[in-house]
Symmetry: C2
Subunit: 325 residues, 2 copies
């Protein structure tokens, strides 16, 4: 067991809601709004205002999470920022800007992690291992501004992606408390990296945006393969099974895939907190927002277990089993 406690979570969507109806008009869709909404399972998502950055959105949600945890920013030892679209800059790490905004300069170490939609779970894994080995508190924050990297004439990404950030604060548990991460699994499959890509504009010499380069059905099949691998290994490690899991926080790329995931594993919808319909696909922030929404809207109690599980570009897949303290 990696002994680390989720002390607080928070989620935040910068900007204003944009309905699927609005975006359908902007991208000259011929399908009816009802049909589109049924296909993607997303009614609205936020698009941040001009001037908003990955760092500014992250800073808001880190402050919210730290307030809930009752921890001052200057007491945080490490901050991990995740993003899937190149952050705000290539160099230095964008997480430095979060430290500057929140007055954490010189008291905290930070770094940027990219593992596409699984980035937040990778960050959580690092944070849990830090806390377990004596570094506490640690903040993991996922901040995505997908709206900056989509365009109406490429409707598959345009109708799906949205903007959001979410954070988790991890602290050392009290002595003797049965709390922490009992199992985890992370894997990647680079051969399938073209499922969702955004190229490096300084290398290609043109503006780059998020693109889906494989058919949706092919991506869905790979997603199933990844999720099965994660769940099987986590249950093998922990000796538990789906019945013993109280809450499931899956990556929510769109409404259809969320339903497919629930059906695949036979998970009761009562164990899930669906939110993709008003958040959209928010990349690495999806599992982070899902976790925050779980704590905000449900009664999560000591002794329960939460399975965080995701699959995304790379192909990346990963998950952690958390025991609530």
């Amino acid at each position: 067991m990696l002994r680390a406690r989720i002390a607080a979570t928070a989620a935040y969507q910068a900007g204003t809601p944009r309905t699927t109806a609005e975006l359908a008009i902007a991208s000259a869709q011929t399908r009816s709004i009802d049909e589109l909404q049924r296909m993607i399972g997303i009614d609205s998502r936020h698009f941040a205002d001009a001037g908003e950055t990955v760092a500014s959105q992250a800073a808001v949600v880190v402050q919210l999470a730290l307030d809930k945890a009752g921890i001052a920013p200057c007491d945080v030892k490490r901050l991990i920022l995740t993003n899937s679209t190149g952050f705000d800059m290539m160099c230095p790490a964008t997480s430095n800007v979060v430290l500057d905004i929140l007055g954490m300069d010189g008291t905290c170490g930070c770094l940027d992690i990219n593992n596409a939609c699984v980035g937040f779970l990778s960050g959580l894994d690092y944070a849990a291992r830090m806390v377990h080995t004596g570094i506490s508190p640690v903040v993991v924050v996922a901040s995505e501004l997908g709206s900056q990297h989509i365009r109406p004439d490429d409707p598959r990404p345009y109708l799906i992606f949205g903007d959001a950030a979410a954070a988790a604060v991890l602290t050392e548990p009290e002595a003797g408390a049965h709390v922490g991460f009992s199992a985890s699994h992370f894997g990647n499959y680079g051969k399938y990296r073209e499922s969702v890509v955004m190229y490096h504009a300084s290398l290609t010499g043109q503006r780059e945006t998020l693109q889906f380069l494989k058919p949706g059905k092919e991506i869905a099949k790979l997603a199933v393969l990844g999720l099965r691998t994660v769940a099987d290994d986590i249950f093998a490690q922990s000796g538990l099974n789906w019945d013993a899991v109280d809450w499931v926080v899956p990556h929510q790329p769109n409404g259809t895939m969320l339903k497919d995931i629930a059906d695949l594993f036979g998970i009761s919808t009562e164990k899930l907190v669906p939110m993709v319909q008003y958040v959209g696909n928010v990349g690495s922030a999806s599992t982070a927002v899902g976790l925050a929404e779980l704590y905000r809207t449900r009664t999560v109690t000591s002794g329960q277990t939460i399975l965080l599980i995701g699959v995304g570009g790379g192909l990346s897949y990963g998950g952690l089993l958390y025991h609530v303290g």
Copy 2:
């Protein structure tokens, strides 16, 4: 003590050597070659050939390091890739491509870390905590192709940056062996993020390159501040001092700063392996190449200690104290 053993290291410079004399002509320098070489302390560096990528260079050096360790790629559990110029793509993580090249798909988890020049040390910190908590072997690889992001008409970066990759393989030590990382420190200071920057070309709408936006003397002062903080805290944690350190592997941004670092701490040059004169500033790969050069050119024996220490864009600073097993 984080129990983890450096089982093997390797370094690799893609492409061909370019002398400072050559680059001085290309960038129309008016200073003499002797004066330039004295100012920057770099005689040559490699520029990779067209078609080389961060991932291809990383794959070469990971294979070299695994061969030395006698470990098959398919047995590696995690791979961490670090870079300071946006990797090969924004999404997914470029480390996926390394897995694909080396046949590690489906057997290894990977992720990309950016903490500018301190990235490799951040990766090493995560890797050490993974091995200590039961995930082994783990590979950390830094791969930088700075030559893709500099231009002759901006000579400060153009004359400094080079291309290189280096990797370290971490494994679980034998029971009872006194080996691992006894102390570490990581900090950032976002207010000084403009010391070295590369903006996001998809956000600015123009090709972006690495730029120094602060005077060299100001950056050098900040570097000293960062390095002092790291060393002081590592010695406070470990109860050791400079006399007890057998080898120092510092970030080597240029020859002048390397000399300043040695002078600042009164480190005997016999404890250092200077290599910036034929490698250039290779960002996060600098400490990785330095570590590989230490193992390749010196007799590193059980019971010795190695201080890895770096400062870079962000401002980022960090270090780890390693006990050789």
